[in-house]
Amino acid sequence: MGKRIFLLAVAPLLLASACIKLKHEMTIQPVHITVDVRIKIDRELENFFADIDKAAVEPEKGDSQKKEELK
């Protein structure tokens, strides 16, 4: 009799604990992946545009004057 009561009392607790979901693992992983992809994208972009970004452009005479005129 005592055993039965004990089982009836414990069963709902066991069922409730089985329903608990651990969500934190699911949220950490995508953030890590996103950062990883961004680093890779940045590296690829730098590889391609490095020479272009470094190429100096001499300002044409009169550009600043023209700008002032427009204002």
Partner: protein, 132 residues
Amino acid sequence: MKRTLKITAALLGGVFLLAAAVQAESAELKERFLQRKPLLEKLKTLEWIGETNLGFLAFRSDTGQSEENAQAVQAENEDRKTVYMEIAVKLNTSAQEVGKRRAVQIAALAAVGHWLQDADGNWYQKKQPGPQ
């Protein structure tokens, strides 16, 4: 045996030719970017065009939209799109994400006075960095 060797050689040759073609296309793209750079920098200095938050150029108003300028901006954006798409395919991501990352790099490299778009799409002018 000879046939297998021939097939292997043909495949290797094909791969080599493909790699050479990709390399040549990349070099052509870079050359076009460099050729357009002086004109585009001029248009940025004149405040006619700015850099969007998606890594593309845009006219800020109707001012300066001559045929030559409009063509240069369009060609630049098309070539940028090609680069973004190539990187996106390589890294299994979207071209838009690549463009957004490029916009961040462009903003960091931009000259003082050039117009840029923030993450919300608002235009702002790059200011002189303050004292540290």
